[in-house]
Symmetry: none
Subunit: 233 residues, 2 copies
Amino acid sequence: MTNTTPARILLVEDEIQMRRFLRTALNARDFDVIEASNAREARLAVTGRPPDLILLDLGLPDGDGIDFTRELRSWSQLPVIVLSARGREDDKVMALDAGADDYLTKPFGLNELLARIRVALRHAARSHARDNPETILHIGPLQLDPVRREVRIDDQPVTLTPLEYRLLWYLAKNAGRVLTHQLILRHVWGPGTSQTHTLRVCMAQLRHKIESDPAHPRILMTEMGVGYRLRDD
Amino acid sequence: MTNTTPARILLVEDEIQMRRFLRTALNARDFDVIEASNAREARLAVTGRPPDLILLDLGLPDGDGIDFTRELRSWSQLPVIVLSARGREDDKVMALDAGADDYLTKPFGLNELLARIRVALRHAARSHARDNPETILHIGPLQLDPVRREVRIDDQPVTLTPLEYRLLWYLAKNAGRVLTHQLILRHVWGPGTSQTHTLRVCMAQLRHKIESDPAHPRILMTEMGVGYRLRDD
DNA sequence: GAGGGCTATCATGAATTCATCAGCAGGAAT
DNA sequence: ATTCCTGCTGATGAATTCATGATAGCCCTC
């Protein structure tokens, strides 16, 4: 669930001092910072490997940042936070209506900027997660869909009890690895359980529902004297 | 593409003058405005028919607006724009991290507020493109028309109580997914409810009105030990 | 092959979870 | 006040799930 890779932020700013200030501040917060000093460089950076968010100064030497935003919005939903020395209300309305997601007037507090960055990334993550069906686990003939809580073997749905489901899910998340009895018991039954017998019984039932020949399992392998393993080749 | 029904905005503000000012301004821009003067009324309004956006004053008589936001975020993604007289940076960071989508310090310009409302609605439209309340949902033999608040099964209209309707609507919006008891309770009954029994009873009534054989449901499936699911295949 | 340790399977009963009926309180309409 | 509707709660029986005990099978060593 947690995104391990740091968010990449494109910083579009011509003043070199402000750029350095923001770069160090963002780097310290574990963001990847890419820099552009004008609209041309910003266009290049976005069409290359797009960042996760854009911090955009409006006063660019080679064109208005508003135009840049409008142009970007014609093909991308990348979050844009405008930083501007212009504090007039019309400027804000123009930028926001052009497609910017937020507008901060210089001078601004760093903590507020960081909080607004978090808001923008939150929004982006939400709309990303919607149309991302890649949450389904495919392991050999097995399919696990955690959203629908559905398990399929050779495309045939099988119904599992809560315990069976949790056991299979834990094995599937660690497909290929050998998991000791103790490890499985702790994760599926919770701490304080040390009765391997119940695990064996549950595993047997799981095999009956998943394996074509439960006596000679091809997916839920037992590792003698150690534990179990879900084959993933 | 154009939304014909005006956006509904919940205005949470205790000062009566500010409320009147905003109400008239928003009405003039063709928004539907619902009003609440404290957190309790706001909770009621949201759990009833949820608005499209919330304008939230932080200084409420009966509780902190931040807590309200956090509580709301535990079960809803409704856009929240905070209006506050407190302009300290920490206040902004707190509110934004609690789940607010924007923060304006009083006094603010009306045009800026309107622009930021447009931004928030834009975001919501993007991520809620699926469940916009305009379209009629067709799921198997079920038809749900949110505008007319009408439900049909095999083209036969059925009359539902408000609670039954909300339950069915929530299940239908997430057709195919398994929804845990807790999830359903939070979304339909509001946060703070943990009594699964009432949910079971309501579900039984719903089945009696929708299923041809309530004892062997074909649409409103129970997922043993987990929750319920509306079948969509 | 015999024996010991580990594993699989079946059966049974307890515990949990569900569905349904009925009763009751609160609110709106008559 | 009466009536009706809605929604909550308690009780009961049914269905499912799960742990445990008994028994048989498998694999390795001796």
